[in-house]
């Protein structure tokens, strides 16, 4: 989810926010821009130890040219490691997990390991969604962990080679992304460079002009519109009535 806050110069409103609400406004912007890192290309996968949804221990250690994975009593040396940070109640994440399961089914015998890490919710929620989706790869509970604090800039995915070096990273998910994962996994399993190292998505930055939003209203089904064109915010409601707000706060919801 991305949240954005738009404001046109307005001393009066800014002063009111300063008195009562600007801290929240700043905090929301901070969440959007800076608080959490994402998986970085060419960086080592982070070392971590977590519990799976069913309570067993699970750790990842990048060491001496080989990433080591310990799952309960088992020790694994995957040729390709996929880390997926997700939210159990996010339908978009669930769609992504279904596609990851297919990739896992196709390549696990060749050395692929997929690991799901819930960055929200408890073991029960993570376990329930794994069961519902018939996911067979390990699903961990990362909520509140250092790993999640550092890397969960929303839902994200990293693909690392056998040395534990991240060769592909993306945030979010769009239908069709799995074609890229599949190709990259095949390349890495063959000891070759990935074909594509990310799936780029635009991000609204501080200072950007608000894009034109002209979409149906969930309440009425009629088109409503908000834009920042012409140097001021303009909202047109279902009946065509136009207003010019001084500031706007909004977010994309996937729930």
């Amino acid at each position: 989810m991305g949240m954005f806050i738009v404001q046109r110069p307005s001393r009066g409103l800014a002063a009111r926010f300063a008195a009562a609400g600007v801290t929240l406004a700043a905090m929301l912007l901070g969440n959007m821009e800076t608080v959490r890192a994402e998986f970085k290309l060419k960086a080592a996968v982070p070392e971590f130890s977590l519990r799976t949804a069913d309570g067993s221990t699970f750790s990842v250690q990048p060491k001496r040219g080989q990433v080591l994975v310990t799952h309960g009593e088992k020790q694994l040396e995957p040729k390709v490691l996929v880390l997926h940070l997700f939210q159990p109640d996010c339908l978009q994440c669930q769609a992504q997990m279904k596609e990851l399961e297919k990739v896992y089914q196709d390549f696990s015998k060749d050395g692929l390991l997929v690991v799901g890490i819930a960055h929200r919710g408890d073991a029960e929620a993570a376990g329930a969604i794994a069961k519902q989706l018939k996911v067979t790869f390990p699903v961990l509970v990362g909520t509140g962990s250092e790993l999640v604090k550092q890397f969960a800039a929303g839902d994200s995915l990293a693909i690392a080679d056998r040395a534990g070096v991240i060769r592909f990273a993306q945030v979010g998910y769009g239908a069709g992304d799995e074609k890229v994962w599949r190709e990259d996994v095949e390349q890495l399993l063959a000891g070759k460079p990935v074909a594509q190292d990310t799936i780029a998505r635009k991000r609204l930055q501080v200072g950007d002009r608000l894009p034109v939003i002209e979409l149906p209203s969930v309440t009425t089904g009629k088109t409503i519109a908000l834009s920042g064109e012409g140097g001021r915010l303009t909202f047109r409601d279902e009946d065509g009535k136009v207003s010019h707000p001084k500031a706007a706060v909004g977010f994309f919801s996937r729930y």
Partner: protein
Amino acid sequence: MVHLQKFHDKYAKDGLFVFTIAMLAGQQKDSKLTKDLGVTYPVFYGYGSDLGKRYAYG
């Protein structure tokens, strides 16, 4: 959305415009997003839109 509704209640009169863009299929008439949550500010339905494809992720 509930917290944003409080923001809307408090600051709309001063010129703040609060909105949400619903990104899941089938939410075009989703009362959970409006009536059940007591949301009265505008909720756009963005599933499948170019805007969503460009900017909504994570």
